[in-house]
């Protein structure tokens, strides 16, 4: 199937998310769509998939113009989509998820689950997916869930498959396997649009590349282009992919975590006997695929999650049973992984967000009231120091771009006296310029003698920042290794193979 998008324009209010974008997908080719977060990739694909209607422009399949009012129509035309956030129903089985919306039925509208199972088995065997049709989706590892999504599209006879940031949740090995699956699919005639911001993957698998930036197509480089060329096109300026840092000057241990166990509400050990310690002036990064207990670990250290057993000591104070406020007062700073949900109050101004964790004491509070003059002074200083691009401190946090929102969170945490910084996914969904800036700030915190714990699923980020790397897998630490450990070795550890 040949798919063409011609001059697609889509705007939300004053923001032009897609500005006159054109793109062609030939049968059996892998076409990479490369761009930063917020460049307009997902909007374009939602237009293609009928979730959004374009303001102007047209979609052609095999030369014929089509119009998708809903995903159902796009699907019927042979377009399948694997979303970044899986569109699977956790409490349903694999077979139920695959046939949903397109169910084989027998008498009296009875669901024919046997036919569904056979369908899953058949596709799964054809491409070597090894998926049990009766497994409940919520019990499957993320990589397997992604295969279920692919099966779902193939079961609907998808001729063109859109993969939206499919590698974000995978280990390096799983990523390699996915690349192989993609090549296999392309060989069997399925065309693939591969959306990503990871240069290495683009180089590995593409037949053709389109780079978009701020809603516009900026280039269609050759698949043989170098990583630096691609990065420059994607960001719009020269990018230095390396972070420079001095050798660590180690002090005493400021964060000691011992035999920490944290349970979820199903009594699973999300954090399973984890121990490590971090010295002042050192960055320890926790690497691992998303969902292996890293979130729970960070929340337990800060006091947001109940600790089942073990202990956490911050700068000599045992905070195992402390409230969050006590933990913060003992010198802990925390950058949560989801800034919109946990890091900021979107409806508050920047100045208000910057005082969130200190609102009860000086300098922000004067007796029972807020010292507004002081608050604004501090806010303006932080905005200056942390390069937050905004018109004023009175702008609402939700109106900022992702990168600037994250800078607000970083500024708030680093703006007060800290001994330990816990940063969870500090640059997720942030533009390259902000990533560079936030990384510099984290390194500066380390050099000024703080203990830093980074939790990241991006191997690039881990390698850029860490003095030591701990890899987490299924709630346990597989091993703690030097910061210069090779990608391949880390990849193996992320799949649970001890070093």
């Amino acid at each position: 199937m040949k798919l063409e998008l011609r001059n697609i324009t889509k705007s939300f209010g004053t923001l032009v998310a897609n500005d006159n974008i054109s793109l062609t997908l030939e049968p059996g080719e892998i076409h990479s769509l490369l761009g930063e977060n917020g460049a307009g990739k997902s909007t374009l694909m939602n237009v293609l998939y009928g979730l959004l209607q374009p303001d102007s422009g047209e979609i052609l399949i095999d030369g014929k113009q089509v119009n998708f009012a809903s995903p159902g129509e796009a699907m019927a035309a042979g377009i399948g989509m694997v979303h970044q956030h899986f569109m699977l129903i956790p409490v349903f089985s694999v077979a139920e998820n695959v046939v949903l919306g397109n169910e084989p039925t027998g008498k009296l509208g009875l669901l024919d689950l046997n036919a569904a199972r056979k369908l899953v088995k058949e596709i799964s065997d054809r491409f070597g997916f090894d998926i049990d049709p009766d497994a409940k989706v919520e019990d499957l590892p993320v990589g397997a869930q992604q295969r279920v999504e692919i099966i779902k599209s193939l079961a609907r006879n998808a001729k063109a498959l859109v993969l939206d940031e499919p590698t974000a949740v995978l280990t390096p090995q799983e990523t390699d396997e996915l690349m192989e699956i993609m090549r296999g699919l392309a060989k069997s005639g399925t065309s693939i649009i591969f959306i990503t911001h990871k240069l290495r993957e683009v180089q590995q698998v593409s037949d053709r590349i389109t780079v978009i930036r701020q809603g516009k197509v900026v280039a269609t480089p050759s698949p043989k282009a170098s990583a630096n060329e691609l990065a420059t096109l994607m960001v719009g300026r020269e990018v230095d992919l390396e972070t420079k840092r001095k050798p660590a000057k180690l002090g005493e241990e400021s964060l000691v975590v011992k035999d920490l166990t944290v349970l979820d509400d199903r009594h699973q050990q999300m954090v399973d006997g984890v121990s490590f310690s971090i010295r002042n002036g050192e960055v320890l990064a926790i690497a691992g695929v998303q969902g292996n207990g890293q979130t729970e670990l960070a929340e337990a250290i800060v006091g947001l999650r109940k600790i089942h057993s073990g202990s956490v000591v911050v700068a000599g104070n045992d905070v195992t049973r402390s409230t969050v406020r006590e933990a913060l007062e003992s010198g802990l700073g925390y950058i949560p992984e989801d800034r919109k949900k946990d890091g900021l109050v979107g409806e508050f101004t920047i100045a208000e967000n910057l005082m969130l964790d200190g609102s009860f004491t000086a300098p922000f509070a004067k007796g029972v009231q807020i010292d507004f003059a002081k608050r604004d002074e501090i806010a303006n200083n932080l905005i200056e120091e942390f390069d937050i691009r905004t018109q004023s401190a009175e702008t609402l946090a939700k109106q900022l771009s992702g990168g600037n929102q994250q800078k607000v969170v970083v500024a708030r945490e680093l703006g007060r006296e800290l001994k330990v910084l816990v940063a969870s996914q500090p640059t997720r969904g942030v533009d390259v310029g902000s990533i560079e800036f936030i990384h510099e700030q984290i390194i500066e915190a380390r050099d000024s003698g703080k203990s830093v714990l980074i939790i990241s699923t991006e191997l690039d980020e881990v390698l850029a920042l860490a003095d030591r790397i701990a890899v987490m897998y299924r709630g346990k630490i597989v091993g703690i290794v030097d910061g210069k450990t090779s990608r391949e070795k880390l990849g193996k550890m992320m799949a649970g193979i001890a070093a």
């Binding site: 809903s70 979303h83 949903l100 919306g101 497994a135 990589g143 509400d265 009594h267």
Partner: protein, 426 residues
């Protein structure tokens, strides 16, 4: 290519003993029965009357000393509590049958204690058949709750839907002299009320709780108003429909005890026998049900496979409302025989509790509704047989039973993931 492990549960589980709640509840109940009803209970005999006088086959009455009965039952209950304790020692939950048998024995002791010395005794057929009749509006209300919540819309308006059904069925039934017409119009009227809820909630994204509450207040106001300015003027021509005739099913209704309870009933009860299993079948065995549950769990995922979220929700809420309307009809032409002000009396809200207690499963919801129906009967019946016990205490008993059932036996429940969340595309 290496194989991805597909095993349930990525993380190792901590052995956590089942909660002590059930065991403690059982032990306390057993102790109360043994001490309060048995050892320090009422002296005198109690008579268990198994058969209704109308039945062809009469089972003999059973007369036993109240203190002896309650002491024996109390010891049995404590034995079962001990068994539950040992199940817990083995890290197992107490099996459902143990809890059910425990409940039946506890209820028997309670009934025996209340009816000690009463000349009419414990009339099993009376109690059981009225339990069923009183439970019908709750069951239909519960089915309405399941249907809308499984599809992701919280339906607080069940109360209003019951009341609408009760009012319309009574008035239409009286005016047309056709109770079946009254029943059908009740379903339509409640269905229309649900359409208001559904369209405001789905299309205009008004907060579902607020619309539900407003609809309830609105229906109470309108029916009260019409009742006092219209129905009261000429109630014999407007609000005197009578009730459906009882239909005894041949042979089945001759089964001792249960025959009279289950198979000599009004059409509303038989409709319940039909609707509950049908809803179960549709919900869990057909594609319609799969789609509705998908919409209630993850509407965006349903949308991306071409399921129309709004339309699905609209029809499930509306059809649910029609069933609630049937429940309203069961209040008037299925039981009392006329419409009274605010006669649903909070049963729509109890239906909400019943839905949670029954975990959004039609069969379990029906069983929970029967428990609530029993507590309503108990309140009426206990006052007749046990005039010595202060009325306030007796009124308390049903709520105590409910509290014990909910707190002691209902475990952690999991609602449909998108229940109450409006669905919008950006």
């Amino acid at each position: 290519m290496s194989k991805i492990e597909v095993t349930p549960g990525m993380f190792s589980k901590v052995e956590v003993k089942p909660s002590l709640k059930t065991t403690i509840t059982m032990a306390i109940t057993g102790l109360v029965v043994l001490v309060a009803f048995g050892i320090f209970g009422k002296s005198g005999d109690v008579m268990f009357v198994w058969s209704d006088s109308r039945e062809s086959l009469q089972l003999p009455h059973w007369i036993v000393n109240s203190m002896v009965l309650c002491t024996v039952v109390g010891v049995l209950l404590l034995a079962m509590a001990t068994a539950a304790f040992f199940y817990r020692r083995l890290n197992k939950k107490s099996p459902a049958w143990l809890v059910i048998i425990f409940g039946l024995f506890a209820i028997m002791a309670l009934l025996g204690w209340l009816a000690t010395g009463a000349s009419q005794g414990v009339q099993m057929v009376f109690i059981l058949s009225n339990t069923l009749v009183f439970a019908i509006p709750l069951i239909f209300g519960g089915m309405a709750g399941i249907m809308s919540e499984r599809a992701g819309v919280v339906n607080i308006a069940i109360e209003g839907q019951l009341l609408t059904g009760a009012f319309v069925s009574s008035v239409v039934g009286t005016m047309t002299h056709n109770l079946y017409l009254g029943m059908v119009t009740a379903m339509i009227a409640s269905g229309i009320l649900s359409m208001v809820l559904a369209s405001l909630a789905i299309k205009y994204l008004v907060d579902q709780i607020i619309i539900g509450v407003l609809l309830n207040v609105l229906v109470i106001g309108i029916t009260n108003f019409l009742h006092s300015v219209w129905l009261n003027n000429d109630s014999s021509h407007l609000n005197f429909p009578g009730t459906f005739d009882r239909i005894a099913i041949p042979l089945l209704s001759d089964i001792p005890v249960l025959g009279q309870v289950l198979f000599n009933n009004r059409i509303t009860v038989y409709l319940m026998f039909l609707i509950v299993p049908t809803l179960w079948y549709v919900l869990f065995k057909t594609k319609l049900g799969l789609r509705a549950r998908a919409v209630g769990e993850h509407p965006l995922a349903a949308d991306t496979v071409g399921i129309n979220v709004g339309r699905t929700r609209f029809w499930w809420v509306t059809l649910g409302g029609m069933i609630a309307g049937l429940g309203g009809a069961a209040l008037t032409i299925g039981n009392v025989g006329s419409f009274g002000r605010e006669m649903s009396g909070g049963q729509g809200f109890i239906a909400l509790a019943v839905v949670i207690l029954g975990r959004w499963q039609p069969i379990y919801v029906t069983l929970s509704a029967l428990l609530f129906g029993f507590t309503i009967v108990l309140r009426v019946w206990a006052n007749q047989v046990s005039p010595g016990v202060p009325f306030d205490i007796i009124t308390m008993v049903p709520y105590l039973v409910t509290l014990v059932a909910v707190a002691g036996f209902a475990g952690r429940v999991r609602a449909p993931a998108a229940d109450g969340q409006p669905y919008t595309k950006e």
